[in-house]
Symmetry: C2
Subunit: 396 residues, 2 copies
Amino acid sequence: MGRQVAIVGVGHSKFGTRHDANIAELAWESIRQALDDAGVGQEDIEYFVVSNAGGWSSEPLPAVVVGEYAGLNPKGTVRVEAACASGSAALKLAHDIVASGQADIVLAVGIEKMNESPTPTVVEYIGRAGNFFWEFQNFGLTFPGYYALYATAYMHKYGATEEDLCRVAVKNHYYGARNPKAQFQREITVEACMNSRYVAWPLKLFDCSPITDGSAAVIVASEEIARKLTDTPVWIRAIGAASDTSNLSKRTDFTSLRAAVEAARMAYRKAGIDPENPVKHIDVAEVHDCFTIAEILAYEDLGFAKRGEGVKLVREEQTYIGGLIPVNLSGGLKAKGHPIAATGVSMAAELTRQLRQEVEKERQATINKGIALAHNVGGTGHYAYVTILSLEKPSK
Amino acid sequence: MGRQVAIVGVGHSKFGTRHDANIAELAWESIRQALDDAGVGQEDIEYFVVSNAGGWSSEPLPAVVVGEYAGLNPKGTVRVEAACASGSAALKLAHDIVASGQADIVLAVGIEKMNESPTPTVVEYIGRAGNFFWEFQNFGLTFPGYYALYATAYMHKYGATEEDLCRVAVKNHYYGARNPKAQFQREITVEACMNSRYVAWPLKLFDCSPITDGSAAVIVASEEIARKLTDTPVWIRAIGAASDTSNLSKRTDFTSLRAAVEAARMAYRKAGIDPENPVKHIDVAEVHDCFTIAEILAYEDLGFAKRGEGVKLVREEQTYIGGLIPVNLSGGLKAKGHPIAATGVSMAAELTRQLRQEVEKERQATINKGIALAHNVGGTGHYAYVTILSLEKPSK
C-alpha cells in the first residue's frame, strides 16, 4: 500500500556544545551534507519537515528560520515534536508524504540547540517532559527521576546492579570514541562510571546522556526518483509508532516501556520480521539510551532478549560488534550526544551509513542481512517509534 | 496518486476564554464530538496528530497529555506546529498518512489555551512569530506591527482606507453573532471599529483577532472506510503548502503574501480549479483574517479579486452570503476567535458542516458547486496552507 520510499541522502553535524553556530547555521550543516549526498539542490526538495522540541529556543518558529537560511523557501514546511522521538516522527511523516504521492522528494531535518538556554532552564524543561501538572509540579519528578523509577524496578525484579548499568555506558563511550561526530570521544571505565556522582539514584552522571547541540538531516524519495539518484537507496521498510500515558502513575509495569513494545510489534509485522527472534533479521541497531537503563529495557522491549535477560546481553558484551546484535555503534545518546529532536534523524542517518558500509572501520557493523533498526523513545515512553531500514526493497 | 481521503467526522469546542477547561479537557470537547459524528470509537483511531503552538503552555508535551485524557493510548502520535497554520498542517499530515496507506483512520486535533499564560506573555510570544533574533529583538516588531506594514503598503498603493478595513470586521462580527461557537457573538458597526483604540496604526483593536482558547477536531478516513461510515463524506481534494522568508526585511512586496499565492497555485492545480477564476468553482471559503487587512490580501492572493480590487469586494459586500463568494461565515478569526493551532482544524470542521448544509440557517452558504476552500496562514505569511474540500470524490 502506498509507494515505496528510500533514503537517498543523509547529513550529520558535529554534536556537542555548539556556541559557534545558531539554530539555522547548525541545521544547514547537516542539510548541506544531505543535499550533496543525494545529489540534489534545494529546488528539488518539495516539502521539509523540521523536528525541533525547542521550548528553550528563542526562535518560536524554527522551521521558517531554518527554511530561509537553508534556501528552502517557498517550499511547504511544518515543525514536529514528539519529545525525544521527534526526529523519528519527522522521518515517518516525510515517508508518508512521499508514499502518498503528495511529493517525490522530502527533507526531514532535526535540530536542537539545548545550550542556547532559557527560562525555564533546559534541565527544568526536560523535567516537564511528562505530565507537568500532576507529576512535575506536584510531585517534583525530574527526568532522571522518572527513569530512576524504571531502573530500581528492573534492578529489584531481575537483580541487575549499578555496575551493569555502567557497562552500557562503557560500550557506548567505546564506540563514541571512534565516531568523529560524537560529543564524547573518550572511553570510560566501569570504575569511572561508578565513581561519578548520583543524579537520581541509582543513575549516576555517567548513566545519563548529555545536553547537546546538533542537527541531522535525511532526504527521502519515491522509488522512481531514488533509482535515478543513487545505486544504494536505503528503503524505509516499516515504521511503528505508539504512545503511553502522560502520567507514570497510571502505568502498572516499570520494567518495560509499553509504547516501545507496541511500536516494535507494528514495525515487525509490517516488515515481516519474526517478533520472537528479530535479531536473526537485523545487522545493527540504534536504540534510545537516554539513560543506561533505557538501553537494557530496549533490548527486551524489542525482543533482542527475553524479559529479565537484557542485562545478560550487557554482561556478555553481546551488543558489541561480533556479538549477538551490535547496538549503538554511533556511541548512542550516551556518548554521541542527545540533541532531543535531532536524535531520531541522527539514528536514521547513522544506520543509512552503516548499511552502506561507510562509517569508520572500527565501528562498522558487518552487513549481511541488510536490515537495520532504530528505536527512538520520547519522554519516559510517552512516545515510541521503531523504524526498520533495509538495503533490499520491501515486497508489497 | 495515493488513496482518496475524506473527512468523516468533525468537532468544535466553544471558542473564548475557557478557564473552565484545561488543555486536555478542551481538546476532548471537540474530539468527542468528532468521534460521535464519525460513529467511531477511540480504538478505531490509528494515529493522531495534535496541532498546538503552545510556547505559553505549562505542558510541554501536549500530544501525550491529550492522548491520555482522550483515551487514545497506545496509538501513535505527534505534535505539529506551523504557527497560525498549524491546524492545516495537521490536516495535511493526517491526509497524507491515510493516502499513503499507513493508516485507515486518523484524527487531527487542534488545541490552544492562550489564556493559560506564561512567561513570556502571550502577546510577546506572538510577537516573536517572525524572526526573533533580527526583527523582534533588534527592531521591536510586534505581530500587529508586522501586519500594519502590509496594511499601510496596501492602503498607499490602492487607496484603501481604515473604514474599508473596518468593513471586514463588521462582516465577520455579523456572522460570528450567528455562530454559537464563536467567541464574539455581537455585531459591530464601522463607527465602533473606527473609534476603537490603535494597536499598531492603521490597525485598531477591532481590526485584530482576539486571544482565544479553543479546540477543533477532524477525523479522516480512506475511501473504503469513509463509504462505510457516512453518506456524506467530504473529500480532501487538494492541499497546497508553501513558506516564505523568516525576515520580512527580505521581502519585496507588502501587498501580497507570496506563500499564500504559491499554496493556492498548488491547490488549484491539484484540484483542477481555474486559477484565473476560482470563484466559479467554489461555494464558500474560510480565510485567515488574523487582521482585517489579511482578509483583503487573501481575496487577491487566492484570485477571488484582481490585484488592488480586494477592497472592492469589501465595499460591495461581495463576500456576504448572496455575493460573489461568501467568506468567513463562521465569523472568521476576527469574531469566531483565533486559538492559534486550532484555527486550521476549525476551518476544516466549519467547511465540512457548510458543505453538509448543517450550520445555522442564517450563516449557511448556498451549496451547489460542492466545493469549499480554507486559506490558513502562519506568522506573517511565513507558512501558508490552502485546502480544497469537495462533496464529489476527486478524479485521479
